[in-house]
């Protein structure tokens, strides 16, 4: 080895070791700090957290990640966790933490803001925003829109529909289908869709494929389309969104919600903050999500909340989830 690379090597070794050493000082406990584990995207949550910090002077320490992975991490951390709040993308992840017994009971003042379908039966977590399952379609390839999600398993949709069976939102929709139409109908639908569908890992991939015209339509969450519109600019989208007929399981609303993990006094304040009218409005206008608090208008161009079924199911119920997963697995899609 020549001297030059030897020097770089040595320098790197020293820098590396120093880096590791100086990193040894963890931030000391500060009372005015709130630790949030967020499964929601940073881009969606950060501006709202900044508002909270500004108003209260509390420092919010956020850890971003995938909802399910953060749920697994919280479960492993158990009671020792430093997290005060878990802000999850879907009810399943919240249910997982609830079943571990890690969430504290929420105060009535908070619970009353949201209707019971969108919060924990045991008052352990609460929905903050909702997102609808929608059909995204390419107008050049689809002339007649289906009125029910059930039609998508019929032969005329062969190879024209895209789904993402490993996605939590899709799985929640299947649970709704089971509750509304029965397990048998759900199983039949799944085997039909397994034959028809192009499968993707992510909602965003489905949207891309529909935009590109490689598939005619797909089942996604509504806000992916709005996010993409922001990224490419209004008017530059080829695809369009559609809802099914009122009451159809295909219009299911999934919630993103929060639960409190500690007795940090700022935790409940943070939850109340998220449910305040003005903050809910920000979620609606900036993130294009459904508000969970009554009296706030839904985003323009999407089905009003009233037209969407609210089947009597608990999306955080892991046992329901297990049956659903078994059905999907039986169809051979995962």
């Amino acid at each position: 080895m020549n001297k030059f690379s030897a020097r770089i090597f040595a320098a790197a070794a020293i820098v590396g070791t120093l880096g590791a050493l100086t990193a040894c000082s963890p931030a000391g406990p500060v009372n005015d700090t709130l630790v949030v584990y967020s499964g929601r995207d940073e881009t969606l949550v950060e501006p709202i957290i900044a508002l909270f910090e500004e108003e209260t002077g509390v420092t919010v320490d956020v850890r971003y990640g995938d909802s399910a992975e953060l749920a697994a991490q919280l479960s492993e951390e158990g009671a020792a966790s430093k997290a005060d709040i878990f802000f999850a993308q879907d009810a399943g992840a919240l249910g997982a933490i609830e079943s571990e017994g890690l969430f504290r009971e929420l105060p009535t003042s908070v619970l009353d803001r949201v209707q019971p379908e969108y919060r924990s039966e045991n008052d352990r977590w609460i929905g903050i925003t909702g997102r609808a399952r929608v059909l995204v379609y390419n107008p050049e390839l689809v002339s007649e829109l289906p009125t029910s999600v059930l039609e998508l398993s019929e032969p005329q949709w062969a190879d024209r529909i895209a789904i993402s069976p490993t996605n939590a939102s899709f799985q929640a929709f299947v649970t709704a289908l089971r509750v509304i139409n029965g397990d048998d109908a759900a199983a039949t639908w799944l085997s039909g869709i397994a034959a028809n569908a192009q499968r993707f890992e992510k909602n965003s991939q489905i949207l891309e494929a529909v935009e590109a015209g490689t598939v005619a339509a797909g089942l996604i969450n509504h806000y992916y389309w709005f996010q993409r519109e922001v990224e490419v600019g209004a008017g530059n989208m080829t695809s369009r969104l559609a809802s099914f007929a009122p009451g159809d399981a295909g219009n299911l609303i999934n919630v993103a919600g929060v639960g409190v993990l500690s007795d940090n006094s700022h935790a409940n304040a943070f939850v109340s903050f998220l449910l305040r009218d003005d903050i809910q409005r920000i979620f609606v206008t900036e993130v294009m999500e459904y508000p969970m608090v009554a009296g706030i208008d839904t985003p323009a161009g999407i089905t009003p909340l009233g037209d969407i079924p609210t089947p009597d199911i608990d999306l955080s119920n892991l046992n329901d989830l297990k049956v659903t997963l078994e059905l999907i697995r039986a169809s051979g899609m995962i």
Partner: protein, 500 residues
């Protein structure tokens, strides 16, 4: 003795994930475990995973060894550039590569795409180790082979193969384990392997026990691979340490066609994803914040340097303890670290969460903790580069030095270290590269609010902000070029290795 004490200390560190898996599985009813292990689905996962592992390993070995040969032993032009090109795909996270390909070829999924993306992503692992080994080719042995046989194949069997054999086995094992552990590519390209099933167990059913059962199955299957590897290495002899490198093999047409073909790997592994992501950057309106980019870059560099340096240091300790002192705990530490390497990084991260918050709460979710996790995850990468290098140092040198009254540490610094440096450098660069790219473990173990290039890339792409993601992808690849360039300096066949 320091070497033994340190390698003994590595054992509990690398055992953390195994202990965790056993604890989780022990919670489950034995009947459930048996049913799950014997289910047809598990059988299918074994077949799927095995098929992908075999196909990718064979391809990566063929590509990586050929690239290494061309760069180290021939008169190919633009050697430096080719070394960098051959190394760069390693810096592209596999989910970015898969995403990029999907952007260019819609409907790109299943076995073949997973094979392509993973082969290109892992060939650099082989390239780096094989290059370091080939740089030790003895000129006199090469001469003798030339005078003995007109057949190029036979000459390679006589000289090249024995020179690279142990590095082929170890990098082959590395590739196989990489394929088993990879999530990004197999999930986006929708090919079912154990890792995808383990992630789905966490993501869909929040079932930690099922994930642990599958994880343990992975460990058991990996034991077979590690045993196979140990058997292949048994009886491996140290070759002579050459002082003079063979003169480069002259290629037809000045080697330009070879250079062109060699660049293909970089095109497939980095070029396509790059173009795909850049295309989004052109269309997109989201913007990256420069301050954040700088911060993320600094964090990536800090993690890369500190964890790679520590991994190489511990790797040396373990290999020295194994080869020179036949110290069993060191062999155990090495074998366990190989097993851990086959586990999804998510499982390793969760095991560190489980143990860390209970045993060392003050350290949990600090930089130090991330570095420790990264070291455990990538120790095999360091070992696979160090072991062949150290094997090439005749034990007699070590004995001779001691007879001259040198202390083992002095002997190591003055005799062994200069000889194994090309191997070390390759290993170090390799670990830096894979750490800079690492996502799942960093995501879970990092201190709150700390971002690396890989975590930012994940944040931006998962929010669909491709334009904002592009600068992170570009920086990641550019950063990877630095260790690659460093390695390329050591591989120049025109330069003589100085052994003093």
């Amino acid at each position: 003795m320091l070497v033994k004490a340190l390698s003994l200390a590595v054992v509990p560190l690398v055992s953390v994930p195994l202990v965790y898996l056993f604890i989780r599985v022990a919670e489950v009813d034995l009947g459930v475990v048996v049913t799950e292990v014997l289910s047809p689905r598990t059988g299918q996962l074994v077949l799927n995973t095995a098929a992908l592992v075999v196909a990718v390993t064979v391809t990566a070995l063929a590509v990586g060894v050929t690239q290494a040969y061309v760069v180290v032993r021939t008169s190919v032009p633009l050697r430096r550039l080719l070394t960098i090109l051959a190394t760069v795909p390693l810096a592209v996270p596999s989910y970015v590569a898969a995403y990029g390909w999907l952007g260019v070829v819609p409907g790109f999924n299943g076995f073949f795409p997973a094979w392509l993306v993973l082969s290109v992503a892992t060939a650099p692992l082989v390239f780096l180790t094989a290059s370091a080994a080939l740089a030790r080719t003895s000129r006199s042995a090469d001469d003798v082979a030339q005078s003995i046989s007109t057949s190029r194949v036979r000459r390679h069997l006589l000289v090249t193969w024995p020179t690279i054999r142990s590095s082929v086995w170890s990098s082959g094992l590395l590739v196989a384990l990489y394929v088993i552990a990879d999530f990004g590519a197999v999930s986006l390209l929708r090919y079912d392997t154990f890792t995808r099933a383990i992630f789905n167990a966490y993501r869909s059913s929040f079932d930690r026990s099922l994930a642990a059962i599958l994880g343990l199955v992975v460990v058991v299957l990996t034991v077979a691979l590690v045993v196979l590897y140990r058997r292949a290495l048994r009886g491996e002899q140290s070759g002579p340490v050459n002082v003079v490198r063979p003169s480069p093999v002259v290629l037809r047409a000045g080697g330009w066609p070879h250079a062109a073909v060699m660049s293909l790997g970089a095109v497939v592994g980095a070029g396509v994803p790059f173009v795909s992501v850049s295309a989004w950057a052109v269309v997109g309106t989201s913007t990256a914040n420069v301050e954040r980019l700088v911060e993320a870059t600094l964090n990536s560099v800090m993690y890369g340097l500190s964890a790679a340096t520590l991994a190489v240091a511990l790797g040396i300790v373990i290999v020295v303890a194994t080869l020179r002192y036949r110290f069993t705990p060191a062999t155990v530490a090495e074998s366990v670290s190989w097993l851990i390497h086959a586990l999804p990084a998510l499982v390793v991260a969760l095991s560190f969460t489980f143990v860390g918050i209970r045993l060392v709460p003050d350290l949990y979710q600090t930089h130090v903790f991330v570095v420790l996790g990264l070291v455990v995850l990538f120790l095999p990468n360091a070992i696979s580069a160090i072991e062949p290098a150290l094997r090439a140092v005749p034990p007699s040198w070590h004995e001779l030095a001691q007879s001259l009254g040198m202390r083992p540490s002095t002997e190591f610094a003055r005799v062994t270290l200069p000889v194994i440096t090309p191997g070390l450098l390759a290993g170090w660069a390799l670990v830096v590269l894979v750490i800079v790219r690492e996502l799942p473990l960093t995501l879970l173990l990092r201190p709150n609010g700390v971002d690396t290039l890989a975590t930012r890339l994940w944040t931006e792409t998962s929010a669909g902000a491709f334009a904002a993601a592009a600068p992170y992808a570009v920086t990641l690849v550019a950063l990877a070029g630095i260790p690659a360039w460093l390695v390329s300096r050591g591989l120049d066949p025109q330069r003589k290795m100085v052994v003093s």
